[in-house]
C-alpha cells in the first residue's frame, strides 16, 4: 500500500513541475514584448511603473531559461512576491488569509454532495424507471443546465429580498461584534447557507447520476445475484454487497471533479461577496495584480493536485484489486 502511495506521489512530481511551467507560459501571454503588459486604462506614468515592477519581479529582461529558473527558485521558497495593489502586502499572506474559507466551503459542499448523491443514486438505480427515478432524472438534467450564478441570483431574490430570511452577502452581519459567541456562530452559518446550496446544486446532479450508473452496473453482477440467492435480505444485498462496489468509481470521479468544484467557488464567492480565493482572484484580475494572479493559479492547482493524490490513495485503500495490481506491476 505504502509503495502504491509512493508511486502515485512520484507521478505527481512531473505534474507539479508542469504546473509551474504552464503558469510561467501564462505570464508570457501578454502581447508585444513581455514588459509591455497591457495595463488597461491606467495613466502612462503608472503604466511605466507597473512595467518596471513586472520587469523586476519576473526578470523579464533576462533570457527565458534564466527567468524560469529564478521564478522557480522563488516558488520553492514560497516567495510569490508582493501584491501590486496599494497595500503591497506579500502575496502569500493575502492568499493565506483567504484560503481557509474557500477550503471550508468546498469541504462542506463535498460532504453534502456525497451524503445526498449516494442515497439518491442508489434509490433511483434500485427502482429504475420508477417515479422517483424519473423525477431525479429530470432534476439531474435541469441541474446540469442551471447556471450557478443564475441560481444564486434567484435564491437571493427569493430568500434575501422577498422573504428576507437569509443574508445575501458577506460572512458577518453588521452587528456581529455585539453578538454572543453562539449567536456569532449562528450568524456565520446563516451567511453560508445560500452559497453552499448554490455550490452544491450542480455537483449534486452530476454525482447522483454517476452513482445511479455505477449502481446499475453493479446490481447486474453475478455476486449480487448470488448474494440474493443465498437468501440475504434485499437491504443487506444492496447496502453491503452492491453499495461498496458501486462506491469505488465514485471516489475517482470525486477526485476528477475537484478542479470544477474549486473553480465554481470563483463565481459563488464573487456573487455572495465571500472573501475567499475565488473572490481574490477576480479582484486581482480586475486590478491586473499579476503577482496575486500567478500565486493564486499556482497554489490552487497545487492544492487540486494534492486532493487528486488523496483521492487516488483512498481508492487504493478501498479497492484491494489496485493493491494487488501494484504488487504485480512490481515484478
Amino acid at each position: 500500500m505504502l509503495r502504491y502511495a509512493l508511486r502515485r506521489l512520484l507521478l505527481a512530481v512531473p505534474l507539479l513541475i508542469g504546473i509551474t511551467f504552464v503558469s510561467f507560459i501564462v505570464i508570457h501571454l501578454a502581447p508585444g514584448t513581455p514588459g509591455e503588459v497591457q495595463t488597461g486604462d491606467l495613466s502612462i506614468q503608472s503604466d511605466r511603473d507597473v512595467q518596471k515592477l513586472l520587469m523586476e519581479l519576473y526578470d523579464l529582461d533576462k533570457p527565458l531559461h534564466v527567468q524560469y529558473a529564478k521564478w522557480l527558485t522563488r516558488l520553492v521558497r514560497f516567495d510569490f512576491g508582493r501584491s501590486f495593489s496599494p497595500d503591497a502586502r506579500p502575496v502569500l499572506q493575502k492568499i493565506g488569509e483567504r484560503l481557509p474559507i474557500t477550503l471550508l466551503l468546498n469541504v462542506v459542499e463535498m460532504l453534502i454532495i456525497i451524503a445526498l448523491a449516494v442515497p439518491i443514486g442508489v434509490l433511483s438505480a434500485t427502482r429504475q424507471y420508477s417515479m422517483f427515478d424519473k423525477v431525479t432524472t429530470v432534476f439531474v438534467f435541469v441541474g446540469f443546465a442551471t447556471p450557478d450564478f443564475w441560481l444564486a441570483l434567484l435564491l437571493m431574490i427569493l430568500f434575501g429580498v422577498q422573504l428576507g430570511w437569509l443574508p445575501i452577502s458577506g460572512l458577518r452581519s453588521l452587528n456581529w461584534e455585539y453578538l454572543s459567541f453562539w449567536r456569532q456562530q449562528g450568524d456565520f452559518a446563516s451567511h453560508l447557507v445560500l452559497p453552499i446550496i448554490v455550490a452544491t446544486f450542480g455537483g449534486l446532479a452530476g454525482f447522483s447520476r454517476y452513482m445511479r450508473q455505477s449502481m446499475l452496473e453493479v446490481i447486474r453482477q453475478d455476486y449480487v445475484q448470488s448474494a440474493r440467492a443465498k437468501g440475504l435480505a434485499e437491504r443487506v444485498v444492496i447496502g453491503k454487497h452492491a453499495l461498496r462496489n458501486a462506491m469505488l468509481p465514485i471516489v475517482t470521479v470525486l477526485g476528477l471533479s475537484l478542479p470544477g468544484l474549486i473553480g465554481g467557488s470563483v463565481i459563488v464567492e464573487s456573487i455572495f461577496a465571500i472573501p475567499g480565493m475565488g473572490q481574490l482572484m477576480v479582484q486581482a484580475v480586475f486590478e491586473r495584480d499579476y503577482p496575486v494572479i500567478m500565486g493564486n493559479l499556482v497554489i490552487v492547482s497545487t492544492l487540486t493536485l494534492g486532493a487528486n493524490l488523496l483521492a487516488d490513495v483512498t481508492y487504493g485503500l478501498v479497492d484491494p484489486r489496485i493493491r494487488v495490481g501494484a504488487r504485480r506491476g512490481r515484478r
Binding site: 504546473i19 447556471p147 476528477l256 490552487v300
Partner: protein, 265 residues
Amino acid sequence: MVLLALLAILAPALAPWDPNRPDVRKILDAPSGVHPLGTDQLGRDVLSRMLYGARVSLAVGFVSVGIASLIGTMLGAAAGYHGGVVDATLMRLVDLMLVFPRFFLLLAVLAFLRPSIWTIMAVIGLTGWMGVARLVRAEFLALKEREFVVWSQAVGASGLRIVWRHILPNAMAPVLVAMTLGIPAAILTESGLSFLGLGVQPPHATWGNILNEGKDAIEIGWWLSVYPGLAILVTVLSYNLLGEGIRDALDPRLRQSVGRIVTRR
C-alpha cells in the same frame, strides 16, 4: 433547438428594438406589451438584447468547441496512433491541463489578454480539448489493431492516409457526442465569465452580462435576472438532451443493457 438557432440568426429581423439604444424615459420598465421582457437600467429592450445575446452565446459555443475538438482530435490521434513516448507525453499533458481548475486558468489568461469575443472563444477552446483527446486516443488504440487498418498498412498506405481515411471516420462518433455536450458547457463558461464582467464586454449583449447588469437592480428589476438565465437553462438543456440522444443512438451497448433489465423485470 433549431428554433434557438433561427432566433439567433434572425435576431436583427425579429428584435423589436435596437438592442443598444438607450431610452431615458423607460428605465427599468416592467415587462409590458411594448417591451415584452421589460427594459434595463439604460432603458434598453431586454428581449432585443437577449436575441442578440443568443448570437454571441451560440457563436462562442460553436467556435470554442470547434477549436477544442480540432486540438483534441489531432493530439488524441497522434497519441493513439503512435503510442509509446508520444502517447505518454501527450497524456501527461492532458493530466496536467486537467489539474488546473478551469475557471482560475481562464481568469489568469484573460487578465493578461484583453477580453473580447475572439479571445473568449480561443481561451475556452484552448482549455477544453482534454476530454476529446482522451476519447479519440481510446478509439485509435482500439481501431488500429483491427483488420482493415492492419491490411491497409500491409498494402503500404502512408500513415497520414490510414489515419485520415480509415481510422478517423470510425472514431468520430464519440467526438460528435462530446462536441454536442461541449457546446452547452462552453455557453455556461462564457456566460459565467461575462457575468463576472470578464467575458464579452458591453455594449455587446450576452446573456451573461445582461445578468451581470441585472444583479445591480436585483431589488427592482427581477425580469433582468430571470429571463436571460432561463434562456441559458433552456439552451443548455436542449443541447444536453440532444447529446444524450445521439449517444444512445450511436451506442448499441447501452440499448442492449437497458433491454436486458426490462426483460428481467
